[in-house]
Amino acid sequence: MLVLTRRAGESVRIGDDVTVTVLDVRGDVVRVGIQAPRSVSVHRDEVYRELRNANQQAVVSTDAAADALSAALRRTGRYPAR
């Protein structure tokens, strides 16, 4: 891992179009500002990991899961077919 020392107000540039700026440091909390193109998604790492896990667990390889879910919906009687 590349390690750099930065002060509040200083930045790091990643590639041509991503800039990470240290905004302020208070105790053990660091606030950073990130400038990136819209096509680059920026997430807190723990949120990204949770989302990735959730997406990976959501994958189905056949329509059987849809049929099972549809049957479960019908059993509740709450979701009338349109």
Binding site: L51, A54, S61, A65, A68, L69, L73, Y79, A81
Partner: protein, 136 residues
């Protein structure tokens, strides 16, 4: 009378402007209504037919759900009329038992029906990634 050949029927292909977290290689998906009740849709990867997600419209399940879609997302999806263009879909995890299916309320998929661009966004709200879909 001609009958459309199933292999040539044009399916609505949607393009993710940023990859779905966990699936950096897959950006193009086909959105199909899987069941005739209009409640469950399948997002199927064009490159890998075995990679599918079940998605649902939030309204029938979570009537109070109203995700705030920011200007950056509207711009990313090239939406000119967000109220009409944008479709919200929730990714469902079925798991072992369909009765215990959950939906991801924190990270909905937003689709622009006009440009057929989509993105999975993370809302800046305290919402569950696994909310029971069929809660009592």
């Amino acid at each position: 009378m001609s009958v459309a050949d199933a292999t040539t029927v044009e399916l609505p292909t949607i393009e993710f402007t940023s990859p779905i977290p966990g699936f950096p290689e897959h950006r193009t998906f086909v959105l199909v209504s899987t069941t005739d009740d209009g409640l469950i849709y399948t997002l199927r990867s064009v490159d890998d037919p075995d990679l599918r997600f079940l998605v649902v419209p939030p309204a029938p399940f979570y009537p109070d759900y109203a995700p705030e879609v920011g200007d950056a997302v509207i711009e990313q999806l090239a939406s000119t009329r967000p109220e009409e263009d944008l479709l919200v879909l929730l990714v469902v995890t079925v798991g072992e038992r369909a009765d215990e299916a959950t939906a991801n309320l924190l990270a909905p998929v937003i689709v622009n029906r006009t440009t057929r661009r989509a993105v999975q966004i993370v809302l800046n709200e305290d919402l569950p990634v696994r909310a029971p879909l069929l809660s009592a």
